[in-house]
Symmetry: C2
Subunit: 395 residues, 2 copies
């Protein structure tokens, strides 16, 4: 059996330990819900205040050019791109993940005329299913085909235009083999849309190596951009001429300030912008991205794997009443561990009352997210202590 001192020792040896000091976290709080809403970087309030008071308050309309607001969607996009294996000019920060999914599923369908199926898996995140259903609802011939995970490969027929996948399962943390799936889809002539909401900042993402087509993801989880911070959208360089957004807003026009009545899409990924970018929200996100760019992603993945491994080991030893729902193979597991337990909802509430914050997902899952940036090994120990207190120890 391990003890708490060993976990403190792991923190002592953690090369990322000092990154935690860059975050604001209350003393005594064990925050294991960064997979839902990331913690706040200490640099963020000042950056947001600067944008509000100096750039808006004093710079006013001049800040669109003078403070770089016009280029912010691409500037932040390129920063996200460095975290997910994209090239400069392939990523944009814009709108929400849901809105971006709509753009991409629609664009993918247009890229495959004559094919009328959008394929996805049953356990995909609900908004992905809803949005794809919405795209299909307005196209009489288009069919949204939802299959079980194990049937995906066989379902990649020449009727399929778009394969819509979430890379890391929100419920279990299961990581799809994105490179293999992308290859299989391409062999069947299918365009792939990846939802990276539970991936970026949590597990390795290399869109270039995957040969990815289209992707989007949220920034308020592991990336710590703030509640509801804008999402990003990726269009591979080679597809940017053919991919068209259905949401033809003025910020995606080639020359928005010509106020031309005819739509002419901007070159590159910028055509996927719709309305005026949310400058205050972008400011919060940019400060988090700047922090991320200082972090060695390989070290972050190594630490997150060690955290989830330790959590699984302790839970298995000390609290077998909670069944591990996440993959036991660390290669296939994201930066979270989900437990199945009949009284999950009450248990999560009782743990939160004791300062350990995870979350409940129906019907019976307790989810715990481990951010490599600010989760300590001792947090893992203390969380399991509280879990045992709440749902009982092994005999």
């Amino acid at each position: 059996m391990m003890d708490r001192a060993e976990f403190l020792e792991l923190d002592h040896r953690d090369p990322l330990a000092e990154v935690r000091d860059r975050f604001k976290l209350e003393e005594g709080l064990v925050y294991l819900d960064g997979n839902s809403l990331g913690a706040m970087p200490r640099a963020t309030p000042r950056r947001v205040a600067e944008v509000v008071e100096r750039e808006w308050g004093r710079g006013l309309i001049g800040s669109w050019e003078g403070a770089g607001w016009l280029e912010a969607p691409e500037r932040l996009g390129d920063k996200v791109g460095r975290l997910i294996g994209a090239q400069p000019g392939e990523v944009l920060v814009s709108d929400s993940t849901s809105v971006n999914l709509y753009k991409l599923v629609s664009a993918g369908l247009e890229m495959r005329p004559g094919r009328d199926v959008v394929l996805t898996e049953r356990s995909n995140f609900p908004t992905d299913l809803y949005i794809a259903g919405g795209v299909a609802a307005h196209r009489p011939k288009v069919d949204l085909r939802i299959v079980d995970r194990e049937d995906l490969a066989a379902a990649l027929t020449d009727q399929v235009a778009v394969l819509l996948m979430t890379h890391v399962d929100y419920l279990t943390g299961y990581i799809h083999d994105a490179e293999r799936l992308t290859r299989a889809a391409h062999q069947a002539g299918v365009v792939v849309v990846w939802d990276l909401s539970h991936s970026a900042g949590a597990v390795p993402v290399d869109l270039g190596a995957w040969g990815a087509d289209l992707a989007t993801g949220c920034t308020y989880k592991y990336l710590c951009g703030g509640p509801g911070s804008p999402a990003y959208i990726y269009v591979a360089a080679g597809l940017q001429e053919q991919a068209m957004s259905p949401l033809r807003g003025w910020f995606g026009h080639a020359r928005p300030f010509d106020f031309d009545s005819r739509y002419e899409p901007a070159a590159g990924v910028r055509r996927f912008l719709a309305g005026t970018p949310p400058v205050l929200a972008l400011a919060g996100l940019e400060s988090a991205l700047d922090l991320w760019l200082e972090v060695d992603m390989a070290a972050a993945r190594q630490k997150s794997t060690a955290l989830t491994e330790a959590f699984i080991k302790l839970v298995s030893q000390r609290c077998p009443a909670a069944a591990v729902l996440s993959p036991l193979d660390p290669e296939r597991r994201g930066s979270q561990v989900s437990l199945r337990y009949p009284g999950a909802e009450a248990a999560i509430a009782a743990m939160a009352a004791r300062g350990v914050v995870g979350d409940f997902r129906p019907p019976d899952a307790m989810r715990f997210g481990f951010s490599a940036l600010y989760t300590r090994f001792v947090d893992v120990w203390d969380a399991v202590d509280v879990l045992v207190e709440v749902i009982g120890a092994a005999d």
Copy 2:
């Protein structure tokens, strides 16, 4: 001839004069571009900082319930609703104007099966034209019909599903007779989508009295919500059961936290939410809305009309080289005055260099916006002084 002292006297008697103190504006600046980006309320930085540092930084995930983030789109929507003659539960704050236009044009088409025309006017704001074109592009039978303003009434045939109008012309400030147009459209069985971007906070808007169907508008102009602050969307109570958003995101689901794989739209206007709301951007907007709710809208309109009247009078007397492009009838004129002048772009730049900020719109328009909240009568005098300096006086 008037003189500067008279304008100072007008400020002295202005019942809204002290509202200006609620804004941060640099000494010596004459800011006449609040129709593009409104000035910053003094209360905003503190409100934003509270949301960042206390609600996010300390409250973390618990703030979705504990700090009212979940209900913010409806809470802010109801505040906007009080400014535009809507009932509680008819307005939501969400996404950008462009994205909301897409939702509404699409919803309007679905409400009129068998009709395949979206009708709009040539001088509509470009993003309205682009977005409507995007909706039409993915519906083989749908036709976007763009006509001249004077031909609108005749074009309201039984083929038309949706009439898409911007209430106040962005270029000239011309105010459409919304009640009359809505009535004419309804007589032809047409659903009307109003873009109120240059209306709310500028001119009287009474969606209830108009018998309006659907509307949206931006909040970063006269409403002073901050750069790129989220837009609002209005669906008349009587249409909320039939109107469906094409962007079926999880926040518009009846029970988003059930994570049900089947989409079931929320009751009421909430179904028009798509992704996770941008909490920091909402905070900036809410502080501005709270200020607006203290202002007597009739007094604001009266002041804004007096400001634009005075500006037109002075320009006509002192600087006839600049032709007034805006309606001379104050009843038909928004809270802006546009001037036509061949060297408009250079003149706007030269005025800005002298501390008077308006904006240029191609090919030859100089736009000046007059916010009743923070524009002084003496600003009007000083602006015309600088205009005369830049483009020359009358003989």
